[in-house]
């Protein structure tokens, strides 16, 4: 009976030690600093998003290239009036320390005075930016030729107060999808 009680006490001390000693060892390894012991040295949020504090949007975008619109020939003009796309390529440099995918950019071009949708634009293909990477966004714009010409005829002049409407942006950051829509700019 005495032996069993001693064994029981020893096993209890062993259980207690196995629970308490690791905690003491962990804290003593960091000089009893609770924050350093519990959270360690790494802070992924600070590492990945810290650069955003010094974000400069001007440095993100290069000069857009309006492609076929810059040297518009007759054939191109006819294509445009028949609803063909205008492709605009915009060089973009990501200021982010992690990869990001631009999945969609889209919106409508409207004449606010006459409440007419003149056309729409959309990102041609989604673009994956590596960390601090530079890629080109290609945005295709189409004119609603019939509505635009009807608006010109109805109001005896070019559409006024042209604005973007229902512009939307869709991003993918590590599988987290961020979507934003702006009613009008």
């Amino acid at each position: 009976m005495n032996k069993e009680k001693i064994l029981g006490a020893l096993l209890f001390m062993l259980s207690l030690s196995l629970a308490v000693v690791p905690i003491i060892a962990a804290f003593s390894a960091h000089g009893w600093d609770p924050m350093a012991t519990l959270l360690g040295d790494s802070n992924p949020i600070e590492t990945q998003f810290g650069d955003l504090q010094n974000l400069n949007l001007k440095n993100m975008f290069g000069n857009p290239d309006f492609g076929n619109l810059a040297n518009l020939g007759l054939a191109d003009l006819l294509s445009l009036l028949q609803g063909g796309p205008i492709n605009v390529t915009i060089p973009v440099t990501s200021p982010l320390n992690f990869p990001i995918t631009v999945k969609n950019i889209s919106g409508n071009l409207v004449s606010k005075d006459n409440n007419v949708t003149l056309g729409y634009f959309q990102l041609v293909n989604e673009v994956q930016f590596p960390a601090y990477g530079s890629k080109v966004l290609t945005i295709a714009g189409n004119i609603n030729t019939a509505e635009a010409l009807a608006d010109v005829e109805n109001h005896k002049g070019w559409p006024k107060n042209i604005d973007f409407e229902n512009s939307s942006l869709k991003l993918d950051i590590y599988g987290i999808v961020i979507e934003g829509t702006i009613g009008s700019m």
């Binding site: 069993e4 029981g8 905690i23 360690g40 040295d41 790494s42 992924p44 949020i45 590492t47 599988g175």
Partner: protein
Amino acid sequence: MKVNLRKLVRTINWFGVIAGILMIVLPFAGRWWRLSVGTGAMDLTTSPFGITATAFGQTMESTFIRYICLGATISVIIAGLFVLFASLLPEQWWSTRLMEFGATRVFWMAIGLTMMPLIGAFIANNVLPGGQTLTIYVVGATISIVIAVLFKLLARKFLKKLWSKRLMKLATNVLWMIAGLFIVLAVCVFLVGKFLPGGVQGLLSGAVPGGTLNIDVPYVSGSASTTFSMSMGGSQATVTLPISMGLMGGFALAIVTAVFSILAWIYHPGPLEEKKKK
């Protein structure tokens, strides 16, 4: 010699031998459960013996967690050795004590690791949005406690066989654990009701005009999406977080180990004094 060998084979607790070996191997058999947010936004794989966590491509480490897991590893290996020795020499005076030290350890680790994401998801999906009443949790805790006490009294009065007493003790301890979980949930409901009257949604609407939060977290295993959206005027923004969880291969081995170790404990002969009484 033949007679001794036959007697030896018959006296060995074979469930315990298997359980002991599995317990020694288990800490090195891989993780038990994983959690992913997005694709690499956050990845977590865990077991009582180690946790690997990354967020946005960066590894997160905690010395505290690492040492706790090391303690759990050493604890299970020692428990496995004790169960093995007790099973090989079940008639020794120390064998029952050693078996009791180690036999249910993995069982409670498996229960704990299953309960934590289950309770966490329940709190996220049902308690944080608010609107819960304390009644069901108080009733649940009360019923569990009453049944646990009844089991203990019935076992003391009616159960004679050692294996039935041990099984009833295990069932009683599980009921105490369930009662404890109901109490934890009741405390969470009380705190949310007191400090977040409108739940997390109410807090968000106050901080972000037009903000809504739809929390959907899977229970232990599965996929779901939690979305946060805000609208102002004609503009709207939505953030969608896909969350997936699942049990891993190490957990299957843990279940097998727990089953064998419980069987070993139930089957193990009692202390010598009890045998002499018989």
